[in-house]
Structure formats: structure tokens, C-alpha cells
Amino acid sequence: MSVTPKIVGGTANFVDERIGSANFVRRSINKIFPDHWSFMLGEIALYSFIVLLLTGTWLAFFFKPSVTEVVYSGPYGPLQGVEMSEAFASTVDISFDVRGGLIMRQIHHWAALIFVAAICVHLFRVFFTGAFRKPREFNWLLGMGLLTFALLEGFAGYSLPDDLLSGTGLRIAHGVLMSIPVVGTYLAFFIFGGEFPGDDFIPRLYSVHILLVPGIMLALITVHIMLVWYQKHTHFPGPGRTERNVVGYPFFPHYVAKAGGFFFIVFGVTSLLGAFVQINPIWMYGSYKPSEITAGSQPDWYIGFLEGSLRAMPNWETNIWGHTVSWNVLIPSLVLPGLMMTVLALYPFIEAWVTGDKREHHILDRPRNQPVRTGLGVMAIIFYGILWINGGNDIIADKFNLSINAITWATRIGLFVLPPIAFVITKRICLGLQRRDRETLLHGRETGIVKRLPSGEMIEVHEPVPSEDRVRLLAGASPRPPELPAAYDENGVPRPGNRRERLRAKVGNFFYRDQVEKPTEEELAAHGDGHGERAEELPPAESPAELPRH
């Protein structure tokens, strides 16, 4: 009666009699996941993390985390006889002397870039669709932790080979540490085991990079995915989708094939990148010496925004009572990113406070239906983007023959001016899209067919919106701004907690003041069955001037 091979049945029986797994396995097999292209962005992050673990383990077999001076005698001609650290020499050996070494290094580095990029676009998806709302705030915070650790892990990784570029990055990190008031100098001496660069730092960084941080990340990722599994995935509005169900395909066989297959795709693409696009050719930079530098030093992309903020900061420093505070380093490299991450981490709670919304949300927002949230998100991206571009201001100045001073000043001003403009434009676009949705609902979709009426009038024929599109277009209520509470109660006594309430109402007003109302049932009904009007249905006796023009 069963198609299950005996060996599978036997194994299942063995396992189930010991840990009672059948129920869990059955639920997992039948688990429904919704389908949408944007749901695979987080998957890219997960899979590139696995690629990083696999390639990283292999690299650890050959890399020597030591700054002991050696004289290179390997096959790479230009470096023969050059003194270098063992870390750098072993990286050169991995690249030129170990079969598969260079491809593993390049896959590892590409996967790291893709990992952080995937986390970022996954973050955008979660933010703009409101997937962070109740009950998923924990996962938002876990994601913030993962993003932070990913940046740290990436920086630690590309600092390990002890080449000129990575040493320069470490020198900057050391300068940043020293700028911390009160404890900075001590922190720098403890972390580096003395003066920069010291003998201890590379081995210490190595254990952080291959054990400590990946261990923490693996734990966080596990919980992150367990929560997605347990709380079930959100889905976009559409036919049959409600706040109480999840519509999609079962985990087995669909997502085993699709998600499993996608892992191979991600691994395959990083392999192809590693094969054909060179990355971090450390043998061309040479071994690190604290007195050497190359022009155009650039960090990996995800550290670029910090580089840009360091470059944009005015040179403020204060000296009080024999103590120096380097605002020029402290603010752009520690205070600003700390603030950015904190605001981002708290956003779900801020929005929930503003809306007073305590409900669970399993249907995603279309970004246009939350113009202020979408605007704030774009504003943040523009802010980040300006910092990021300024991180390459020397390259831009060189390639486009611009003044570096002008670019830096444009950044300083742009950081304050452009994000608000981006906010306003985004909000306008969202409201415009809302208006178009309303139009489409009430008048149907433009067909592009122009029809000539007997009266000579030319009209465009509109066709009814398919019902599945109607659900999508109608989704997302128009939230109202909370009402401003009265300052005094009926006895003329100032109400307690009033100021907070009023602040909340004001912020709520900012969030939800501008909304295009969704058509009501009556309005939909008034336009026929809501499938749009057709001009030819109108009585021909009417004067042409009153004919609807769409």
C-alpha cells in the first residue's frame, strides 16, 4: 500500500520510536510557503552564508594567521626574496601554490560581498512591505544583529591577509578605537596587544573571524529561520489570501526543490564570479607596512558608507583640561552608524506606537499604501547612498575630473538636503500610485483601443479589472491619523499623560494625513459592477460634452 521504500520506512521507524518525529515531519512536509520573488532575497543571504562556511573552512586549512616575518620563496616571481608576514605569504601560497586555492579565495570573497548585499535588499523588502510589524518584531531585531555581525565579520575577513590594503583598513580602525573618549587608548593597546600593528592582532582577529562571529551568526540565523517557520511566512494581498491563512505551495516537494535548487544557483553564480571576475589580488598590493600606502585605497563595498562619513566630517576636535575629543573621528565612525542602526532597530516599535496598532499582520503592505513609511525608507537609503558615494570621492574626482573639495562639500550639504527631498518625492509618487489604483478600480484598465462613437466622439475603451487584480488594488486600508486629544478633561483639569498623547497624535497625523481613499462599496457599485464604464453603454442622446473622458 505504500510507495515508500523499505529502507526509508525502516529508518523513519527507528527515528520515530526514539524521538517521536513523525508528527513534526508531517507538519514540515505540509508546511505552506507563499511564492513571491522578493521572498528569495533572504534566501540568497542564507545560501551565501553556507557558501562562506564551506569555502572558509577549506581556506582555514591553508591560511597561517601569523605576522612572523618570512622571506617569500614561492612561485610568484615579483615577490621572490621579499620579506613579508606569514599571513600574507600563506595567502599568496593559497593563490598560486595550492590547487583550487585561488578559486576558493575568490568564491569566498564574492560570497561575502553578496552576503551583505543580500541582507540589505532583504531588509528593504521587509521594511517597505511592513513585514516587521507584529508579530515579527523579534525577527527584525535578530536581523539587525545579523547585519551588524555581517559587517564586522566581513571587515575581519578582508583584514586577515595582511596585505597593504587590509593593513590600511586596520590602521583606520585603530585610529577609530583611539578616538573613543576615556578608554580608547587602553582599548587599542589591549586589542592590538600593544602598539599598532603588533604581533598579536592577526591571530586574534583570526579566531574572531573563523569561530566567534560565525558561531554567533549561525545561532542567530537558526533562531531567525525557526521563527519564520513557526510564525509562518507573510504573504502579499491577493485572491484567497487573508490575515488568517497562508497561501502557497507545500515545503515538500515544492520548496525542497525550489529553495534547495536556489542554493545551488547561488553557489553556482558565486563560483562563476570567482572563476571569471578577479577580486582582491593581494599579490599586487604587497605585504603591509605601516609607512606605505597606495592612492585610491577602497574598502569592500559595505564599509564604504563609514569611509564616506569619515571623509565628509568637518575637522572638529576639542581639548578640555588636557583631554582630547576627536569629534572628527568619533561622530562619523561610531556615533553616526550607532545612531543609524538604533533608529532602524527601533523603527517597528516607533511605528507601532504611532499607529497604536496592536493587531497581528500577516498580509504585506504594498509600499505605495504606506507613503510615509516608504518615504522614510527611501530617505534613509538616499542618506546612506550619499555617504557611500562619498567613500569613493577620490576615485570620482579622478575619473570625472572634479574637485575633491567640491564633492566633499556637496556631500556635506547633500546629506541634509537630499533625503528630505527624496522623502517628499517618494511620498508624492506613492500618493500618485494610490490615485491610479483608485482610478483603475473605478474606471477599469486602459486598453489602448480608441473607439469612434456615432456622434464622432473618439473615446478610449476601458476594460474591467480582473478580480484577482481587484483584490490587490483594494488591499491596504486607509489608516486615519489619531485624533488630537483634548488638553483638558470635562472638569477643566489638564489630563495626565496628555503631552505624550498629543505628540503621538501629531506624529500620527504626519504619518497618515495624506491618503487617497479607497473606493467605497457604494462607489464601486455606482460604477456599474466596478468593472469600469463603457462609453457605448451611455445613452447616445447625451451631449458629447458630458461624455466621460478617461
Binding site: E69, M178, D199, R244, P253, F264, N315, S326, R359
Partner: protein
């Protein structure tokens, strides 16, 4: 016993919660489910209109045309076979190419990465194609389970917890709790104490370099002493103190000293020099400044001869060499420290004295 029966026989509700009914998948296909009796205390988020039409399903070509299905099957199979070819390319790249030249390293990397990439990509493409074309294309509805525990469950937890607290005797024997805190609090300090030996205390290390009176200035490239005549007007020489080479070669003492005492010599026409940090700190138009940026410590390296501007490649802090190493642009807050120089009896440039202030980036105790 079939697997299905095994599943049925297994105890229910042993995972996550005991609300096994909430989890049991309701694999009803099609038809929007909107059960008004579903337990849910919070008002449902406003869905706009009460319009949730049933799921629609448009059959795919492979659902109705057996030929198309057969074709899809062949495509999946073809992709799997292509993957095998990729793996073969990988093996050939590994065994047939020796890493004896730069070209071969490149060839090896392309064959290994290209073969691996092809092998992996094709497996992925095959699996996804299989899922999209041949597995059921009909969407399935599954009910969500309620996340919030019921009031009874919550009350039971609180009751059990309170019983535990009572049982532990903490309310009656507060001293025990105090003892626990007293025992663990000092213990928590041990890891911090253990971290003490990570590094030495800063001491005066950030304030001192090996530069002192009479130390010869060596070119960082040739490691030979420099005469004024060796530097053309408008020229620039990266330099180090001769005593740096006396430091132990093993370990990082030399590297650390390089990070502090690296300097640069620039020769200007004497009339171009606007100001210096001390009287006669230059020598016949030759000026010596610290090469470590006062921002975060990158070595300076881009000298513009005509403007006498020295630019840091890291964050573009710009210093005017002709005007006391003054900051003219960028995030650096302090002027470059100048090293007073003269020549010794053999005509080689030497330091007149050590630096009079700490070089490199600022720090809290710098003052």
C-alpha cells in the same frame, strides 16, 4: 507499517505547543477560507473590503499537454547531465593543469570555478525547472495558528511559576538569594580580569618616537642617508630614522616604530616657505614633517609640488607644507608635526631634536 500510519500513530501535540489542532495542516485547495468562528481576540487588521475571491488557477501547458510535460522532463534531465559535464571540467582542471606559471594559475581557476559553477548552477536550474513545470501548480491554503496563548494557559504558567517560587523558599529565606548574588557578582569580574594581559598599558608609547638629536634621516626606499643635494627643488623623499633599523628585527618592533616615526622630506625654494613650526627647523629649504596623518594615522603620500599640498590618500586631509603643515582641507584636525633638522659633519640630514608633540591620530590623553 507504512510511514503514513507511523505518522498517524505518533503522539500528537508534542512540538512547539500543545495546540496540535492549530498546526494540523488543512490542505483544502481553492476556495477562500474565512471562518467567522475562528478564535481570534484581536480585531483582524483591516483588509480593505470584504472581497476575497477564491483562488484561481490557470493550468500550465505541462498540466494539459503530455508532450510539454515530457519535454520539461527531458529538459530537467538534460540540465542534470550538463551538471555532470561541469564536474568533469572541474576534475580535468584539477588534475591536468599544473600551477607552474601565472597563465596556468588563471587557466586552473577558470576551469575549476567554471566547472564547479556550471555543475552547481545546472543542478539548481534543473530542480527549479522540475518544481515549476512538473510539480503541482495549484496553490494551497493553510490556516495560521494563533500565536497568543489562551488566558487559561497563561494563568496556568503563572500559577506553576509561583508554586516554584514558593517551593524554592526564596520569599521566606531571602538570605539564600543574597548569597547567590554575592557569590556570582564577583565571579563575573574574572573574565574581565583575565583580559588584562591582552596588552600592555599605553604608558608614554604614543608620545615617543626614536627621533632624537643627531639621528640620521634615511630614505625609506634606499635606506641610505640623504644630503640636501639629493633632493631636487620641489622634490619629495619618504624617510625613516636610522635608529629604526637598530630595533630588533624579529617581532613587530620595527613595524610599530615605522607607524610612528615615518617622516618625509620636501625641498622648497626658501622664499616659498611661509611659516614653520619653529625657527630654523628646516635646512636650506628642506622641511621634514611627520608622514603619519593626524586624522586616523594613514601614511601621507600624495604631494602636489606646485601648491606644496600634501594629501592623505585615505580621507583626503590636505596639509600645506609651506605653511607649518597646516590643515587646509579634510577631516584632520591638527597640523602635521614638524621635525627640526640640520646636517651632520658629513653633510647628511639629521634631526635637530625629537618631535615636540605626539605624532599620528589624536587620543584621549593627548591633551
Amino acid at each position: 507499517m507504512s510511514e503514513r500510519e507511523t505518522a498517524g500513530a505518533s503522539g500528537s501535540g508534542r512540538h512547539f505547543t500543545d495546540r496540535s489542532t492549530d498546526h494540523s495542516p488543512d490542505l483544502a485547495t481553492g476556495g477562500a477560507t474565512r471562518d467567522p468562528s475562528a478564535h481570534r481576540e484581536e480585531p483582524e487588521a483591516d483588509y480593505g473590503h470584504e472581497l476575497v475571491p477564491g483562488l484561481t488557477h490557470t493550468p500550465r501547458r505541462t498540466d494539459i499537454d503530455p508532450k510539454a510535460a515530457k519535454r520539461a522532463e527531458r529538459q530537467v534531465l538534460g540540465l542534470f547531465l550538463l551538471s555532470v559535464a561541469g564536474t568533469l571540467v572541474f576534475f580535468i582542471g584539477f588534475y591536468a593543469v599544473q600551477l607552474d606559471s601565472a597563465e596556468n594559475v588563471g587557466l586552473s581557476t577558470k576551469l575549476l570555478g567554471g566547472g564547479l559553477g556550471l555543475a552547481l548552477f545546472c543542478i539548481g536550474a534543473a530542480a527549479i525547472h522540475w518544481a515549476r513545470k512538473l510539480m503541482s501548480g495549484e496553490e494551497v491554503v493553510q490556516e495560521r495558528h494563533r500565536l497568543r496563548s489562551s488566558d487559561e494557559e497563561r494563568a496556568a504558567v503563572i500559577k506553576d511559576f509561583q508554586r516554584g517560587v514558593e517551593d524554592s523558599g526564596v520569599p521566606r529565606r531571602k538570605a539564600i538569594l543574597g548569597g547567590l548574588v554575592a557569590a556570582t557578582a564577583p565571579l563575573l569580574l574574572t573574565p574581565i580580569v583575565l583580559l588584562r594581559d591582552l596588552g600592555p598599558l599605553p604608558g608614554r608609547k604614543l608620545r615617543e618616537t626614536v627621533w632624537t638629536e643627531g639621528v640620521r634621516i634615511l630614505s625609506d626606499v634606499t635606506e641610505r642617508p640623504v644630503r640636501v643635494a639629493d633632493i631636487p627643488i620641489g622634490g619629495y623623499v619618504a624617510a625613516i630614522p636610522e635608529t629604526l633599523l637598530d630595533l630588533p628585527h624579529e617581532g613587530s618592533a620595527q613595524l610599530a616604530e615605522r607607524g610612528k616615526s615615518a617622516v618625509m622630506l620636501m625641498r622648497l625654494r626658501p622664499e616659498e616657505i611661509v611659516s614653520q613650526q619653529g625657527d630654523n627647523w628646516g635646512y636650506e629649504g628642506v622641511l621634514c614633517y611627520s608622514r603619519i596623518c593626524t586624522h586616523v594615522g594613514c601614511p601621507l603620500g600624495l604631494y602636489e609640488q606646485t601648491t606644496h599640498h600634501m594629501l592623505c590618500p585615505c580621507h583626503q586631509s590636505t596639509f600645506d607644507i609651506a605653511d607649518s603643515g597646516r590643515v587646509v582641507f579634510g577631516p584632520a584636525a591638527r597640523d602635521l608635526p614638524q621635525l627640526a633638522i640640520t646636517v651632520d659633519n658629513d653633510g647628511y640630514l639629521v634631526a635637530k631634536q625629537g618631535f615636540t608633540e605626539p605624532v599620528g591620530p589624536s587620543f584621549w590623553e593627548r591633551g
